[in-house]
Symmetry: C2
Subunit: 113 residues, 2 copies
């Protein structure tokens, strides 16, 4: 996977992995990697600024937690975040349909062969 691959789709990825429940930054990286089959490897320089931005605009909320002696910042979806996630999924479908139909023009249904 070429670098810069997630450009323009990062917000959707972050919101999506937080849908099942709150996660902290490090776990978010792991979750994206797992759910993508190991293909998507986000860096901290990618997600931390993004998480801050998403919280600032009200799509996420965060809280500090202590696991043993370790501090973690846990992010979770707000209601607004859930709505935005739905919109991101729609946008993704439109995007893939548009690019896909240029890249692989479908044979019009009903044509022979």
């Amino acid at each position: 996977m070429k670098t810069d691959a997630v450009r323009g789709h990062l917000d959707g990825l972050l919101l999506a992995v937080l849908e099942p429940g709150p996660l902290h930054g490090y776990a978010i990286i792991a979750a994206v990697q797992n759910r993508s089959g190991g293909v998507l490897e986000l860096r901290t320089g990618t997600i931390y600024p993004a998480l801050n931005r998403l919280e600032r605009v009200g799509l996420l909320s965060s809280s500090w937690e202590s696991a043993g002696e370790r501090r973690r910042r846990c992010y979770e979806l707000t209601e607004e975040g859930r709505r935005t996630l739905a919109g991101e999924r729609t946008a993704w479908d439109e995007f893939t349909t548009a690019i896909g139909s240029v890249l692989n023009p479908s044979t019009p249904p009903g044509l022979p062969t």
Copy 2:
């Protein structure tokens, strides 16, 4: 469709619309727009530099044509370009699979409910 949407996938789009036969720049814009259902509207500032680059690296070849008194620069795929197009399609599939599986995690087949 948000601006900057095709970032990272432009080369594939250009190669794909040239697959059926040679086209000139203006027609390429129209072809992408048509095949995407009107969604993708590329600008000249987007495609001309890209076409030049693709020719420079040997994926396209170009020739001036005269339609009536008008001059047009027609681009066509090279053999290398066709091979690259196949690669772009594979990369596109991997990309959409990766992002898609994060955005919409599939219930693993065979699991009860």
